[in-house]
Structures are given as C-alpha cells and as structure tokens.
C-alpha cells in the first residue's frame, strides 16, 4: 500500500484537481441504517459489536445490534439453507452463505448470505436463536459506524483501476480489529488493523513466511484464516495459509507499511486451505480447532506455540506442532465457538446445509 500512496502523493495535484477518489481511509460517525452492497466475513467484538466486511464497498461496518429478542443460544437447524431461502422468498440454489458468527453474550448465531447471483443480488443477515427461530436482522434500524479499507487510487495518469479487494478473515483483539485480505491482481498477503471505535485503517502490513514444504522458498501466499491470542503473554496472531503452514505473528511487529516475516510453527499438509479457526479450553488446556477444505477438522494444542522454533528447512509434507484430526466433523463449511463446551458449524450434507452445535473435542 505504501508504494501506491507515495505515487499518490507525488501526483497529488492532479488527484485534487480531478476530484478523483483518494486512498486515505474514511471513518464515519455513528449513523442509523447501514446500507450494504455485500456481506462477506463477520466478526464479533467482546462487547457484541458485529463487524461486517462489505467487500463490494471495500469497507467494514461495525453494527450495534442493540437488544435482539429470542431465547439465548442457538438451536440446531437441519437444512438451514432452505429455511433461509424460504425466509428470503427464493430457492436454496439462489443463496450463498458467506459466514457464521456467534454473539459473545446472547450466543445467537448470525449467518450472512447473498440472495441472488445476478446484478440484483442483495446481502442479508439472518439470526438463529436458542428456540430455533430464524429471523432477518432489520439492519435499517441499527446504529453503525464504517471504515473504508485503504485501496490504491486508480492510476492517476490513465484513471484506470480494475483492482478489487477480498477480505479473507477478521478478528478483534485488544481494542483493534485485524483484517486479512488479498486482491484480484497482486498475489500477496496483507494485514490491516483498525482501532474501534473506528478511526482509520492503517496502510497494512505485508506478511511473508518461510514455507517449509515449498522448500528453500519464500512465499507471499495469502492468509486465509487467523485467530488472535496471547503467546507467552504477548498479543499474537496465529494465521493459516494456503497449503496450510501455521504461522505466528507477534502483533507488536505489525507496523503499518512494514514487511514482517512470520514464524512458521507447523506445516499441516499440502493441497489444502484453512477455512476457520477457533480457540477453546478443555480440562485446563487450550486448543486451536481449525476447519479445512480437504484435510478435515484439526485439533491442535497451543502448548507449543510459544516455544516452537520456525521451520526453515524443506520438509516433505508435515512438521512442527502436531495435530489430531477430528474424524466426526465432516463437510464443515463454517465454524465458530458457540460456548465453553460447544462449537457451532454449518456442515454440508446431501440434503443441504445443517446448523449444528458440536461438543468441543
């Protein structure tokens, strides 16, 4: 991002006279009724503020859900995709579920979907409560603030840009929202962070890793899922990449504009992409639960996260901190922590998508 901003500064006269969009992120004041172009990733802060990534608008909206009715918790719903489609007046084939997140206090599940696949596709946020009631969240009545992610200005010489930004994951830690993303042009990884209440997103930190299974190679492969935690008392992001290296980034290193080399603490196997990660405690020990596209759900003890030395030599397939596969969890498309003893998943079955609580392994 830094590169583009420099060019933007150099060409600032033209940008101003042409009234072209600028790269500086914009933070908004509190308003009512956010308008979404899309909803992709969801994340909750500990106080129940819901962060919604609107990829089409290159922005993140923080929504104050206020008091939402309904029994606490989330009840299992088989074929939840068909039920959501019915609520939205269409067929299950016409909706795309984009994320699942659990409210930290009410334990309601929030599911973001896109209704329709054409130009008229619209986002919707659906809530499931402890009685299994499914309702559309009336966002038009909710308070919100918004922040735009830094995005390069169009080429000021030609006015061209076909770049768009996808957000792969978001998580909240110590008053800041961390965001990972990748673009439709550069094949590289970027972390942003923004304090909440929103001020402005920083210019992002490029993160690179040693990927042991790539062997003697440095890669800028995209971060696909990450979870904030503390390792040896230090705020840390644990990130999962394509081909599944697990990488440790001390939050203190993620300075705007810097290039940071993470420490690869595990190689969990090739031909795979992480989907979601959650942290939980069981019998006094902490574990990371990670769902994947082709290697199932992995349970990983975080005991070794602090002491693991980085993998810097070629390995054949797997190395570093170990894991066990949770054989009972299959077809997992979305995963979040429901409560102290359960995860909540959206699992693909031949009959459709099931929303179900699963005892933490």
């Amino acid at each position: 991002m830094r590169t583009t901003l420099k060019l933007a500064a150099m060409l600032s006269l033209v940008v101003l006279t042409a009234s072209a969009p600028v790269a500086a992120p914009l933070a908004s004041t509190v308003a009512i009724g956010p308008t979404f172009q899309s909803m992709s990733r969801l994340a909750f802060g500990p106080d129940g503020v819901l962060y919604v990534a609107d990829t089409s608008a290159a922005s993140i909206v923080a929504v104050d859900l206020g008091t939402q009715p309904g029994a606490a918790g989330t009840k299992d719903i088989a074929g939840v995709d068909a039920r959501i489609a019915a609520l939205l007046g269409t067929d299950a084939k016409e909706i795309v579920v984009t994320d699942l997140a659990v409210h930290p206090k009410t334990r309601h599940s929030y599911i973001s979907v896109m209704r329709g696949t054409g130009a008229d596709a619209r986002p919707a946020l659906v809530r499931v409560d402890g009685a299994g009631a499914l309702s559309l969240v009336a966002t038009e009545a909710l308070k919100f603030t918004m922040v735009s992610l830094p995005n390069p200005v169009p080429n000021p010489t030609t006015g061209r840009s076909n770049r768009s930004q996808a957000i792969t994951d978001m998580a909240f830690l110590d008053g800041r929202l961390y965001v990972a993303g990748l673009s439709n042009e550069e094949f590289s990884s970027k972390f942003w962070s923004v304090p909440y209440p929103f001020a402005s997103a920083d210019n992002g930190t490029s993160v690179e890793i040693y990927h042991g299974s790539h062997g003697r190679l440095e890669t800028s492969s995209p971060v696909y899922s990450f979870v904030p935690t503390r390792v040896n008392g230090q705020p840390t992001l644990i990130a999962g990449y394509l081909c599944t290296p697990l990488v440790r980034f001390p939050v203190g290193d993620l300075k705007p504009g810097a290039k940071v080399m993470g420490t690869t603490i595990a190689e969990l196997g090739n031909g795979n992409r992480p989907i979601d990660m959650i942290l939980y405690k069981k019998n006094g020990k902490e574990f990371l639960l990670m769902s994947n596209t082709s290697r199932g759900v992995m349970k990983i003890s975080t005991d070794g996260f602090g002491s693991a030395t980085g993998i810097t030599t070629q390995i054949k397939d797997k190395a570093g901190v170990g894991y066990e596969t949770v054989a009972s969890m299959t077809g997992i498309e979305q995963l979040d922590l429901l409560d102290a003893t359960h995860s909540i998943v959206l699992a693909r079955t031949p009959a459709g998508l099931n929303l179900q609580a699963v005892v933490l392994p």
């Binding site: 830094r2 590169t3 583009t4 901003l5 420099k6 060019l7 150099m10 060409l11 006269l13 033209v14 992709s40 089409s56 068909a82 039920r83 019915a86 609520l87 939205l88 007046g89 067929d91 795309v96 696949t117 054409g118 130009a119 008229d120 619209r122 919707a124 499914l134 309702s135 390069p152 080429n155 000021p156 010489t157 030609t158 006015g159 061209r160 076909n162 770049r163 768009s164 792969t168 439709n184 042009e185 550069e186 094949f187 990927h211 790539h214 062997g215 003697r216 190679l217 440095e218 890669t219 492969s221 081909c243 290039k259 080399m261 090739n270 031909g271 992409r273 989907i275 596209t293 810097t312």
Partner: protein, 386 residues
C-alpha cells in the same frame, strides 16, 4: 401475550361497532400479484375487504404473528414448517398489500393464503388461497467473452494468473465451474486453478481473475511433485469458457469461448527495468510514448502500475493502451507533448505473468539474504521529449 390480549379486546369492541354499522353481505376476497412499477415494488394485493374492515386494520394494526396468520406468502412447494417470506404489510384505502423484503423472483410461484377468520371482525369465509407468480423474464443471451489474458501465444510454464474479460457485467455465481483447461489431447487438466471461496472480479464484474494453484506453480512443493505443473512446456492448451456461465441478468453467454496458447519455459527471472526500451515522442504533437518490455507483463497490474510524470514534478494525464502480447505499453497524452524531461513511473506492485516483480523473482531461495524492509515504492525511468 399481553399485547395480543389488548388487540383481541380492541377487535371485540370493533366487532360491536361494525355489527351495528354493516348489514350488507361482504364482497368476495381476491388475491393478486402486482408487478413493480414507478409506484413501487412488486407486491401481493388483497382486494374485496370492506372499508370498515380496512379501517379496523388501520385503527388497530395487528402484531407480526397475527398478520402472518391473516396473510401469509410462502415460496411454492416448500413445506409448511418453512418460514413465510419476510416483508411488510400495509393497509391502503382499498386493499391490503404485502411487499417482500427482497423482490419476488420473476417466474417463481408463491403460495398466498388469506384467512378472513383472522380479521379484526372475523368473517366466517374459508381461507382464500392462490398460487401467484410474476411473469417470467425471458433472458436473451447477449454477453460474450471478449478475450482471455494473457493474449500472448506463448506463456511460461509457471504462469500465475489469467483474466477472462466479458463484454458486459456478469453475475455473482462462482466462475470456476465454467472454466476448463484442455491439454493438447483435448483432455481436462485436473484442478489447474486455485479453488478460493472469494471471487476475484473487478468492480464492474466484467473481468474475472483465475489464479493457477501456486502449489503446482512453485518448484519443490508437494502438489507440484505429485500432480506436476498444470502447464507443461512445449504443449498446447485451450482455455474453454462454458456458455452456461450466467451474466448479471441471469442469461447464459451467447456462445462458448475458446482460446489456445502454447507453453514455453518457466520464467523465474525478476523484471529487469534496464531491459525496457522507451520510444520518446516528439514535442508539439500527441504521438504515443511507447514502452517495450522483453517479456509479457501482467495485464491487470500493467494497467495500474505505469504512469507518466514530468521530471520537475506533476503528472501527465492521458490514455494508455496495452498491445496484444502484453509486451508494449502506449501512452497518448491528453495535451500535446511539450519539450522537457519526463519520467515513466513504475509502481512496485508490477508483476510479470509468472508473478516475478521488479528485481525480485516469484520464487526466492530462502538461504540467500532476504530483505525485510519494504521494496522501493516506485521506479522512475527518464526520457526526454524534444
């Protein structure tokens, strides 16, 4: 429950009033679907209610669950346990309407039920039911694939990405199932592209980005050793885009699209700016500035990463064109060139078709010293206009 009790009490009062006021038989209730117009969105209309019945509904708006019992709209064919369509009820001067929160799908049937027994003053009529649908919209195919980038006849074995360009905006459905790569025997290449759950469209939805699986592009990585690179040097391939891919209006493409290319050796070299050639224009005209590269550059990044400025400061605005093959960038200024010193500004984001950057190849030997600072933000190549 308290609220519903109060509602029932008000209805009882109204019943007495209406019973005194009305002595005429009630009009049959009918249900219809009204297409969207300048007056509003498509909605379901309930006609045949008396002015007294409408007044009663207005005077004492039912809570959501009573509305639902009175008038429900469901996607046809779903079982009764599925939720009704969410939307807004409105009582007008002549009818009651239900407008869905999301527009009705054209051609889709909706089962509508109106239960007169749930009116504030209940009618003893049976439930009125209708299956209603907006007219189906005929989707006429009009969109074509205009080209697949890179356009060069030969691409390196470690090609990192392709762009598919369309004549008009496309829909949001995943594009991957509609793109195939055929080898020289006409056989599908197995999983050549990276399966991501985000779709890489440009903001106008007219350009779709496909990334080749980096696990098969990079050397020494297991998928590459097991499956081999998707592209093999010396072979010919065909990219096929299925006509079934739907545009933003829901219509399929006008036709299937095919584009052939040949695969050359892998390109593991960084972009070397010293090998670029600049052909400077003459002062006093609007001849193009031409920048030529020895190897094809990534079309998307090339469109964004090159600009022209005056050496003394300030930008030169104009129009850029990338020649087929992506080895030449032409720039025509908006105003005539004036004599002086200029610069081609090259942003550090620029990559070639294999992901190599300026002075940094896509694959880096990790035992060499790695620079952990950000790369210079941009490079400037000087040229003079005389």
């Amino acid at each position: 429950m308290k609220f519903q009790g109060a509602f029932a009490l008000r209805c009882l009062v109204l019943a007495f009033i209406l019973a005194a006021a009305c002595g005429t038989p009630s009009t049959p209730i009918s249900l219809s679907i009204v297409p969207a117009s300048d007056a509003g969105s498509a909605h379901v209309k309930v006609s045949g209610l008396s002015s007294s019945e409408l007044s009663a509904l207005r005077a004492s708006p039912p809570p959501a669950d009573v509305w639902l019992a009175l008038l429900s709209v469901r996607v046809a064919g779903v079982d009764a346990a599925q939720p009704a369509v969410t939307g807004a009820y409105m009582v007008g001067s002549e009818d009651v309407t239900f407008t869905p929160r999301f527009p009705f799908d054209p051609g889709r049937s909706y089962d509508v039920a109106f239960d007169p027994s749930k009116l504030p003053v209940p009618r003893r009529d049976a439930v009125v039911r209708a299956s209603l649908a907006l007219p189906n919209v005929e989707r006429v195919p009009s969109v074509v694939v205009t080209r697949v980038l890179p356009t060069s006849e030969v691409v390196p074995e470690n090609l990192l990405r392709m762009y598919i360009e369309f004549s008009k905006p496309m829909g949001r459905a995943s594009g991957l199932p509609f793109v195939h790569l055929l080898d020289n025997r006409g056989q599908d290449v197995r999983e050549p592209f990276l399966p991501l759950d985000v779709e890489f469209w440009n903001p106008e939805h007219t350009r779709f980005t496909l990334f080749f699986d980096p696990g098969r592009v990079k050397r020494g990585i297991l998928p590459n050793e097991q499956m081999g690179r998707a592209l093999v040097v010396g072979r010919r391939y065909t990219v096929v885009v299925d006509a079934a891919w739907r545009d933003a209006q829901g219509a399929p493409l006008k036709s299937e699209y095919r584009q052939q290319f040949r695969v050359g050796p892998a390109d593991n070299h960084p972009i070397a700016l010293q090998n670029w050639r600049i052909t400077a224009p003459r002062a006093g005209g609007r001849d193009p500035l031409i920048v030529s590269f020895p190897d094809p550059l990534d079309h998307g990044l090339l469109s964004r990463a090159l600009g022209v400025g005056r050496a003394a400061g300030g930008v030169v605005t104009g129009t850029a064109r990338i020649d087929p093959g992506e080895t030449r960038w032409n720039f025509i200024p908006d105003a005539v060139w004036s004599a002086g010193a200029y610069e081609v500004v090259v942003l550090g984001v620029l990559e070639d078709v294999a992901g190599n950057q300026i002075d940094k190849p896509f694959e880096v030997d990790m035992f060499k010293r790695i620079d952990t600072t950000s790369k210079p933000s941009e490079r400037r190549l000087k040229f003079d206009v005389r």
